[in-house]
Amino acid sequence: MIISRPRYPFALGALGMALAGLVALAISVGSFPVPVAKVVAVLWAALTGGDAGVADNVRAVVLQVRAPRVVAALAVGAALAAAGAAYQNLFRNPLVSPDILGVSAGCALGAVTGILFSLPYLLIQAFAFGGGIAAVGLVLLVGSWIRGGDRVLTLVLTGVVVGSLFGAGVAFVKVLADPYNQLPAIVFWLLGSFSGVLPKDLAVALPLVALGLVPLALLRWRINLLALPDDEARALGVNVGTLRIAVIAAATLMTSAAVAIAGVIGWVGLVIPHAARLLVGAEFARVLPVSALLGAGFMLLVDTVCRSVGRTELPPGVLTALIGSPVFIWLLALTFGRRS
């Protein structure tokens, strides 16, 4: 089956416009009813430093609750999708997600340890971030200790092992936790949520996401070449080893920051790059921005639905899986064709 691909600039423009529309929608809906005109007034006042002339709680809902939540969903979606795209290119495998090197398991272990010791929320987030970095650091360390063989395969296998080890750590902490208080807190953390994101969380997380996203964007042409076998990429003048570490570091930084503020949310990093490739082809230089835009939009849509369905919230991970799994199958069928 041949799909006509829209031209790249057109795709970027259309996605950007759709995303802007989605942001406008997301900031206008919520359980606390705020008329759209007031939302605009509050945002305008915040930008210009003027007075919106609305009640304090309306201002707080728009600026302190909804806006950070929208920004967080955008950033997390973009980070996970971009990391997924980079990894699928790096590992030359379309079934790879940002978790492949154990980053989520590491974040989870960090966070649940923080909950076990009843630490303040900020420290729980810091533990989550540190856990993700530590897990991938361990993978790189062990991977570099093993000499021969296919480097990429070694890394993936080490990642699976370390991820599983940290997963066992999470299970162990669950057993240690107080079943009435800490265990539910752990379960809710692992389910993931954007419901408590504050501006101060973003002040830390956004720079970290940018710190991962910018190098990927700058290196996008070179990363393209990583899809080739190592010796061919080398022949084209790419320092494969260094570049691989750079990509892994950037992806890990972004994913850890994303998981630290939103919990473990699956499927975004796996499915979105496929959708992006379907739109603009396999070239990483194009897949990266399109993935980031698509991921941001998808995550924002999912979170907006999660917080609008009722008084209590759905975990976004449930919805991403519900949407992601059939979409993934459909994308596979589109890419590889179907048996008639």
């Binding site: 302190q64 539910p184 809710f188």
Partner: protein, 344 residues
């Protein structure tokens, strides 16, 4: 095969325990053969521990987890030093069945949910160990029945009468007073759980039983269920009059948080309360008889004009009755001066 093993185990128990046995129908409707004289009781979960400890502390053979030093200071040392044996069923099984056997318990007691899941778990453990296993309904409202039934089972009728008299006087007094309060005078309460205070208990969940018992309105009570996650926006929309939490981190941050402190009248009016937790929690967990003293505390918070307890005296009485030691005046001062116990 399993039936044969069960029969064998049962035969073994009968031969050890002798013919002196009676039949007890537990709250799940299970008919359980229990020995005439129960001497060593394994409490399957924290609520059961609290109840057995209150009624017959010398028959309790261990706790589900060891006490931390700050908790142990509130109960007599010989009981605080009982070994940690783990939890048996329910939320995470940490007790090894062999540990239970090795502890030579002659009765296992669980207090809490009596639904088919827990009934079948009880049956399985009973078959496996040959130790009679009884389940009691753990709702706050049935505390008196718990005390009466377990009192008979443990042969602690005198203690049971003393404790149930205290509990029925307390609960009935509260109920009759609260019955006079009109619907619009009953406060809206939000129960904040978790480090961000964004998990709460829905209607019917054991976590918010105290709010429901005290006739107040749980703002999240329009939906039935267990624990759920909510957004800050929804809490602002509810704008509860009182917020109760048992998370010290949430309590510490809520007055400084730009959203909570400006948009929620309960926070602006300093009507956020943090439940004490020594030696057992006063609110929500463990969901056992330990919550009774929490009811005294919370009733004053929710209806300041209706209830005027001498909290210090009430705590002293309750701790003496249920935990077998009256706290020192110094301990009481420290406990009641902790942040969040009283008005800020």
């Amino acid at each position: 095969m399993r039936l044969a093993a069960a029969a064998l185990a049962l035969g073994l128990v009968l031969s050890i325990g002798g013919a002196a046995a009676r039949t007890f129908v537990d709250d799940a409707g299970r008919k359980v053969e229990i020995p005439d004289k129960v001497e060593r009781v394994f409490a399957a979960g924290p609520p059961a521990s609290v109840l057995v400890f209150a009624l017959a502390p010398d028959k309790l053979i261990g706790w589900t987890r060891a006490f931390r030093p700050d908790e142990a200071a509130w109960i007599p040392k010989k009981y605080a030093d009982l070994p940690e044996l783990g939890r048996l069923t329910g939320r995470g099984n940490t007790a090894n069945v062999e540990v239970v056997l090795n502890a030579k318990a002659d009765l296992i007691v669980d207090v809490g949910s009596t639904n088919p899941t827990f009934a079948s778990l009880a049956d399985r453990v009973q078959q496996q160990t040959g130790i009679p296993y009884i389940l009691l309904d753990g709702h706050l409202d049935s505390t008196v029945q718990q005390l009466e039934k377990l009192g008979v089972v443990l042969g602690a009728e005198a203690r049971s009468r003393e404790l149930s008299a205290y509990v029925s006087k307390l609960l009935d007094g509260m109920k009759s007073k609260i019955a006079t309060v009109q619907a619009d005078k009953r406060p809206d309460v939000y129960y904040a759980r978790g480090p961000q205070g964004l998990q709460t208990g829905l209607r019917g969940s054991i976590n918010v039983e105290m709010i429901e018992f005290l006739g107040a309105k749980n703002v999240a009570g329009s939906e039935t269920g267990g624990l759920a996650s909510v957004g800050v926006e929804q809490v602002i929309l509810w704008d509860p009059q009182v917020i109760v939490t048992n998370d010290p981190n949430f309590y510490a941050s809520v007055f400084k948080d730009p959203v909570w402190s400006t948009s929620l009248s309960a926070v602006r009016r300093k009507r956020v309360y943090l439940s004490p937790h020594l030696p057992f929690g006063w609110f929500d967990f463990p969901p056992g008889a330990n919550r009774l003293i929490g009811l005294v505390w919370l009733s004053e918070i929710l209806y300041p004009d209706l209830f005027k307890f001498d909290l210090k005296r009430e705590v002293a009485t309750f701790y003496r009755l249920f935990y077998h030691r009256e706290p020192t005046p110094q301990q009481l001062d420290v406990l009641l001066a902790e942040p969040g116990v009283g008005p800020r």
